[in-house]
Amino acid sequence: MTLSAIHRARPRDPLPEALLGELRARLGDRLATSAAAREQHGKDESAHPITPPDAVAFPTSTAEVAEIARLCARDGVPMIAFGVGTSVEGHVLAIHGGVCLDLSRMNRVLAVHVDDLDARVEAGVTRKQLNRHLHGSGLFFPIDPGADATIGGMAATRASGTNAVRYGTMRENVLGLTVVLADGRVIHTGGRARKSSAGYDLTRLFVGSEGTLGIITEITLRLHPQPEAVSAAVCAFPTVDAAVRTVIQTIQLGVPIARCELLDTLTVQAVNRYSKLSLREAPMLFMEFHGTPAGVEEQARTVQELAKELGGMDFEWATQQEDRNRLWQARHDAYLACRQVRPGSRAFTTDVCVPISRLAECIAATNEDITRASMPVALFGHVGDGNFHLVIPIDETRPADLEEAEAINRRVVSRALEMGGTCTGEHGVGIGKLDYLDAEHGDAMSVMRSLKEALDPRNLLNPGKVIRVRDS
C-alpha cells in the first residue's frame, strides 16, 4: 500500500460515550483525549502521516490493561499498544481509530536472577533503563535497536540490533511473556526454563506480532554475562563491495564477531556531521569483539588480515569504554543523521535482509539504484546478519519524491525476495510492508490470517497491521 493510500480517510465510529466514562472512572487523568496527546500517539519515526487514536490510556498494571481490553472488546473498539513510538513502518497509526494503550508507565524491572541469567520486566521498561538497572551485576541485555525502545515494543516488533550476529534477536532472547488477549483474558507463555516442549510455542508467536494478537504486559528476558574483554574497531575500505566481502569471509570463517556494521560514504559523512566525529569519508565497517582477552585478540587479528587483503585501511581500535560508547551511539544515530542530509525532509526507510551468501551481489545492485536516484540515499546496516537499510530523504511537498522512494523500495524488496531474502529484516511489517508480505509468503499468509482470526476474531487488536483481515 502506498503512503498516499493510507491517507485515505477510513470510516471510524466515535468512541461510545459510556466507554469513555467508564475508562475515565477507572483511570482518572491517566486517560487523555486532548488533541496533543492523541497526535503524539498517532505517529512514529517514519514518513507516515499522523493518524491519531480517539483516546490514550496509560495503564499501570496487567490488571488494568486487561480491564481496558475487556471494555473495548465489549464495545468493539480497536486497541493499539504503544511503547515509545519509535517504529518506522506506521505500526502505531490508529487507522481505524480506537484506544491507544501507552505502556510506558509500566516501567518496573520486576526481578533479576543473576544465577539463571534472566530478568522479568514490565513492557514499558526501555532497553537503556534495563541496562542501567543491570549495571554492576556483571550481566547485560544485548539487543539494541538504534532508538531507546521499550522492551514490549521490541518484543512486539521482534527487534534486533547491532550485535544480533552474536546474541540473536528478540526471537532468541525472550523466554516468556504475560499477554492480555483480545477479550481481556490474561495468559502466561514460556517461562524461565530454558527448555520446555509443552504445547505450541506461543512465546514466539506473540514476539513479532506487532500488537495484533495480544498486548504484552510483562516479559522474561534472557541476559548475557558481560564479556571479559571487549574491543571495537573501525576500518575504511576503497569500496562498499570490499567491506561487504570482508564481512562475508569473517562470518564464513566462523569468527564469533559480536558486532559488524556497514556504513556507506554518505552515511559516514552524515554521522561525522551529526555526531561530531572525524572518520575518513569512505565506506566503513564498525566492529566489536567479545570474549576472553586471548579470544578477542585472535578474532581481531583474523579480521584485520581479511580486511587488509581486501584493501582495508586505517584499522583503528577503540579500547576505552568512552570511545566505544561514542562510536556505537554514532552508529545508533545513523538513521537520524541520514535524515538530516536533506534538511526539512522526512525519512523513507527500507529494511531488507538476504542470505549472507548473496549479500555482496545484493548490495552492489542496490548501489546502482542509489546512484541513479535523484536524492542522496544512504545505505547502512547490520551486515553481519545480511540486513541493511536505505534512508531515502523525501520532501513532503513533492509527490514525485514519495513516488520515487516507493519505486526504489519496491526494487530493493523484490530483489531481496528473489535472492531468498525477506522484505523486512527487523523493522517489521506495520502498514508499510503489508503488500510485500503476500509476495513473500504466498500460502503461508492464509495460515497467518487464520491465526489472526482465531485469536482476534473481531479484528480489534491493532487492526490493519501485519495482515489484512477482511476489509481492514
Binding site: A111, H113, D115, L117, R120, R158, S160, T169, R171, G176, T178, L181, R185, V186, I187, H188, G191, R192, A193, R194, K195, S197, A198, G199, Y200, D201, L202, R204, L205, G208, P225, Q226, E228, G291, T292, G295, E298, S357, G386, N387, A416, G420, T422, C423, G425, E426, L437, E440, H441, G442, D443, V447, M448, S450, L451, E453, A454, L455, V466, I467
Partner: protein, 552 residues
Amino acid sequence: MTAPAEQIAVDLERQREVVSALRTFLPESAVLFAQEDVKPYECDGLTAYRQVPMVVALPETEEQVCRILKECHARKVPVVARGAGTGLSGGALPLGNGVLLSLAKFMRIVQMDVRSRTARVQPGVRNLAISDAASPLGLYYAPDPSSQIACSIGGNVAENSGGIHCLKYGLTVHNILKLRVATIEGDIVEIGADALDAPGYDLLALMTGSEGMLGVVTEVTVRLLPKPEYAQVVMASFDDLAKAGEAVASVIATGIVPAGFEMMDQAATRAVEGFVQAGYRTDVAAVLLCESDGTREEVADDIRRIQEVMEKSGAVQTQVSRDEPERLRFWAGRKAAFPAAGAISPDYYCMDGTIPKKRLGEVLRRITAMEEKYGLRCANVFHAGDGNLHPLILYDANEPGAFARTEAFGAEILELCLEVGGTITGEHGVGVEKINQMCAQFSSAELAVFHAVKWAFDQEGLLNPGKAVPTLRRCVEYGRMHVHAGQEKFRSRFKVQGSRFKVQGSRFKVQGSRFKVQGSSNIGRPMNTKFPTLNFEPGTLNTEHRTRNIEH
C-alpha cells in the same frame, strides 16, 4: 499406562474405502493394512502405549503426501505422521481409525550449500546423517539428541529436540531456517526464510515442537555450523549431589557457555561403566562433564577456569580429556546412558522435566526418598546446563504392580518439577504421555489459545488428534475427577487413577463433539466459521493451583 487405552477395533469397511482411495495413486507396497504389516507401527519409543493403525501409508514424494492428506481430509480420517518412531511420549502412536503416514522413504539430502552453510533435507533423513554428509565440508548440524543415529529430522522438528550441545548451540528451533509443510488440506506451505528473519507471525517456531498436530513437514532447511577447531572436556567427580549442583550454577555464573554440560548420579555412572567403560568413577555421588569448544586459545582459557570452579565447588577429582579419543570416551558413557539402563534392568521409564539449576541438589535428594517409597531404583542423567532432568526409573514389567508404581513415581517426579518452578517436559514432548499434566501446567485461557492455533491450521482436528494439547473438556473431566476424589488438589492431579485411562480410550471416539462444553469466550471463535466454541465451565479448571515459573 498400566491399562493403556483398549485397542480400537478397525472398521473394516472404512479401511477398505481408505485403502482403495490411496491405491489409486500409491503402489500396493506403499499402502499397508494387514495385521502383520501394520503391527510394527503400533508404538513409538513409549512402548507402554500400543495401537495398530487402520492403514499405514508410505509415500515417496511430496505430491503423494499431499494426495494422502487430501483424501483423508475429504473422508475425515485422522492422520498421524511418523518419522523414525523414537519419540518417548507417544507422539507417533497410531489411531485405530486413522492413517499412519510414515516419512521413512524421505531419505534424500537435497542440497548442501557451503557458502550459506545450509542443508536442505527431506524429513526422513536421520539426524546424524546430516552431520555425516556435511563433515567433508568442515560443517555439522548442531542439535544432537542421544537418539541421533536413528531419529529423523522431521521428528526433531516436530519435537523441537535438543541434545548435549544445545546449551551453546540451541534447540532445533534455533537451527532451522525454512520448512516445507503439507497442510491437512493437502496444500504446501513454505515457511521461514533463508535470511535471518521472516516477517509476519513466526510460523516456523509454531511448527517446531507442534508434535505433528499442525502439518506434515516435507522438507527442512537446516543451518550448519563450522566444526570447532578444538574441543576438550573436564570430568569432575563429586561426593555430594548438592555440591555438584552448586558447581553447575557456579560454572554458568562465570559467563562461560559450555558446549555441553551433563551430570550423572551414581546409579547412572554405575550402569554406564558396566556397559561401556567410559572411565567414570563409580564410588562418587555424581560425575559432571563440561565441554568447551572453539579455538585452542579460547578452549585453554575456558578449561582452566572450569577446572578451577569445579575444584572450588568441592570436586574430589577433576580430569581434562588429553586427546580426541579420550574426549569421545568421556562422552560415550553419557550418550549410552539409556541403553545402559536397559542393560541393568528389564525395563526403564525415562522421565523428562526441567528444574531451576539451583534446586538440583534438593530435587535429587527427594527423588532418592521416592525410590524407597515406591521400592524402585532410579538413575538420573541431567542436561545440567539447561536444567533438563531425565530420571530413568528401573522396573520389571513382568512383576505385578511394578508398572503402576513406576508411573506413580514418575508422576511424583513431574509434580516435584512443577513445584520447584520447572516444567513437565524439557525435550521429549507431551504426546499422549503427559496430556493430563498439560491441564495442570496451563490455564483454560492458555489452552484456548493453543486450540485457536490448532484451529488456524487444522479446523477439523484431523492431524494427530488426542496428542500434546488436551481438549478443554478433557481438562474439565480431569479436574473434576480429582476434585471429586476430595484430595488435596495439587497432589491429586498427578495421582494415577484408573478412570483416567477410560477417558483416554474414549478420546478417539469423541471427535467433533469434544469441544462442546458450556461457558463463553471470544478467543478462538472466528466469525463466520464453523469453529467449535472453545468453552469451559467457569470455575471447574483449578487454574489457581498451577505452579508457573513467574516470580516477581
